[in-house]
């Protein structure tokens, strides 16, 4: 197992290097000048523009810049944002809690909804409950999250006036009222993402349960007189969850990707919103940092999923 993890880590390093190189090349070769706004500003003299360019290191050829950037990133330094002139790491740390508060909570909500419902649906196969759950899950992952989000805004903000339209990032939770305010403004983004995740996961849980319920060990558990509840939950569900857990790990990067859209709908000032904004303003250092973080997330959680699979299922042995 240990050797397997080490080998996988060794494969992950060149993968990440290739991805970072490709991404940097795309950003560097793009026919868009990050200093275009300065170029059209008549108050900035050409020499000053050239000095800024040199100060930002943009006068060097891009492979050189890539190597320098890579060395800095490996030391935890993502550079300075062109737009806000603060360090990219500071920007990211400032945004990360908002993203985690929405995406993380939504994913957990999704898991806690999906497991019992998927299990129930499988146990009551071909009943009304099962059909209702399957149909809802199907609809749930066919609706784009930006549509669900807008519909929720129409219902709860525009028509009923129950919940606020936009996410107020200046709100600090200090007392009971501000806590309620925080809950009120997070509930719609969490619901949108959580229901989508739940719809996807429910199908997996149901499919796995259906595979395990007819197995011999389940019949043995019944035969030795266990209560049905114990048979289903302690025996069938536990084994069904092994592949589901790995799928949950594999889904983490996708969930962060989905946050880009959700944060945009509700104007949650998180990483995704920062990415869209930085792309729009040509803020290359921020874009590079976020893309590389997403790439690391993908590679890391692929590894986590594989390792978890081996840990949870003793039958899996890595050679």
């Amino acid at each position: 197992m240990g050797r397997y993890v080490v080998r996988r880590l060794l494969i992950a390093i060149p993968t990440l290097l290739v991805i970072s190189f490709v991404m940097y090349a795309i950003l560097a070769l793009a026919p868009i000048d990050p200093l275009a706004s300065l170029a059209t500003d008549p108050r900035v003299p050409p020499e000053a523009r050239e000095n800024i360019r040199i100060a930002l290191g943009l006068d060097q050829p891009w492979p050189v810049r890539y190597v320098k950037w890579l060395i800095a990133v490996l030391q935890g330094d993502f550079g300075v944002s062109f737009m806000s002139h603060t360090s990219v790491s500071a920007l990211l740390w400032q945004r990360l809690p908002n993203t985690l508060a929405v995406v993380g909570v939504a994913y957990i909500v999704g898991i806690f909804v999906a497991v019992p419902i998927g299990m129930l649906s499988a146990v009551r196969r071909n009943t009304l409950t099962d059909h209702a759950v399957s149909t809802l899950a199907y609809i749930g992952f066919s609706v784009p999250t930006f549509f669900t989000g807008l519909i929720l805004i129409i219902i709860f903000s525009v028509k009923l006036h129950w919940l606020p339209f936009l996410y107020d990032s200046n709100l600090k939770v200090t007392d009971f009222n501000s806590l309620v305010g925080q809950l009120r403004q997070s509930i719609m983004p969490i619901l949108v993402l959580g229901l989508f995740d739940a719809a996807v996961l429910t199908r997996y849980v149901r499919a796995e349960m259906l595979e395990h319920l007819p197995m011999d060990y389940v019949r043995t558990a019944r035969a030795k007189g266990l209560k049905e509840r114990a048979v289903v939950v302690r025996h069938a569900l536990r084994n069904s969850l092994i592949p589901v857990v790995t799928l949950i790990a594999l889904g983490v990067p996708t969930v962060f990707g989905g946050a880009i859209v959700t944060e945009q709908i509700f104007h949650v000032p998180g990483i995704g919103e920062l990415l869209v904004r930085s792309i729009g303003s040509g803020d290359t250092p921020v874009v590079a940092a976020i893309v590389i973080i997403f790439a690391v997330l993908v590679v890391a959680f692929n590894l986590v999923a594989d390792v978890l699979y081996g840990v949870l299922d003793p039958r899996i042995r890595y050679a």
Partner: protein, 310 residues
């Protein structure tokens, strides 16, 4: 393949069977029509596609007519789906925009499927190519797709628009980028099928009779891999339509004069409090087309899988 009667020789005399012979595809179609959800999906999809293809010929209100005095009106007899902020008829725009959305979905999938099948077939058939090609696929699978899509489209769209014109340029770009970032699952699927098929007896027989590699790949193995590819392609069209509308919704898709469904939503979100109909109709279109494609894809998967047939 499509013989309706089969001839069998008994004692040197050709005899005709009464029962029509059923090909794989006829069998699959038979199973498919028994799947209620798949049929609902098919009907829904046919209606949506037909509406966007022939609708604009029958629905005569031109979509570009601007009438500020009638802006943001709700559904009425004159404007069944209401109007946008410039007073343009929403149904007309939906019908036109739907063509683009569907065209993007289909074209992007053709690119993804062709790339994936080529890489998968080469990796599965030629042992020397397997490892390098699969490493390459793994790298692509580790790419953060949505962020990368956004970055590439933002950075390159002006250059491409200058080259091919604003509308066609964006179309080519979106379709290519979605296709190039989505071929990996197909490649894995095709490779796995090729690996399991290339040592089967019928391939050995083909090789023994002197077939070239090219003939074995295209004439013998590929037809057997067609059904999983078809299923992946079907579901892929839904995914590509979703991706396009996501891009348009983030403001990085088509320009405002190409009213794809995602673009309509992007424009509508600022008027959500006064013109909810403007959000609801395009959103419903995206939802219904993705739902129907998913149902069809699942139905096809069941219908084309001989093990699941009763």
């Amino acid at each position: 393949m499509a013989t309706t009667t089969s001839q069998v020789r008994i004692g040197g005399v050709a005899q005709e069977y009464k029962r029509p012979a059923r090909s794989l595809w006829a069998d699959a179609w038979f199973t498919f029509t028994r799947d209620r959800f798949a049929m609902v999906g098919l009907v829904m999809l046919v209606i949506l596609v037909a509406a966007t293809l022939i609708g604009p010929f029958f629905y005569e209100r031109p979509m570009g007519v601007i009438d500020f005095s009638r802006g943001l009106e709700g559904p009425s007899l004159e404007h069944p789906f209401g109007t946008d902020d410039l007073g343009r008829d929403l149904l007309g725009r939906l019908l036109w925009g739907g063509r683009v959305s569907i065209a993007v979905g289909i074209t992007a999938v053709i690119i993804a499927i062709s790339l994936g099948t080529a890489v998968g077939a080469l990796a599965g058939y030629f042992r020397k190519l397997d490892n390098p090609l699969m490493r390459f696929t793994d790298v692509f699978l580790s790419l953060p797709i949505l962020p990368l899509l956004l970055v590439i489209i933002y950075l390159f769209r002006e250059a491409i628009a200058a080259r091919f014109g604003p509308d066609l340029g964006i179309f080519i770009m979106i379709v290519t980028v979605i296709g190039v970032l989505n071929w990996m699952p197909v490649a894995r699927l095709v490779r796995a099928s090729f690996l399991s098929l290339k040592n089967k007896e019928f391939v050995e027989a083909a090789r023994a009779t002197g077939s070239t590699d090219r003939r074995i790949i295209f004439g013998h193995i590929l037809p057997n891999v067609l059904s999983p590819i078809l299923v992946a392609a079907t579901i892929g069209v839904g995914g590509a339509i979703l991706t396009e509308s996501t891009l348009s919704f983030l403001g990085l898709g088509f320009p405002p004069d190409v009213p794809t469904w995602g673009r309509l939503l992007y424009d509508a979100q600022n008027f959500i409090d006064i013109a909810p109909h403007w959000v609801i109709f395009p959103g419903l279109c995206i939802f219904l087309i993705v739902l129907s494609i998913n149902y069809i894809g699942d139905g096809l998967r069941d219908a084309l899988d001989p093990r699941r047939r009763i």
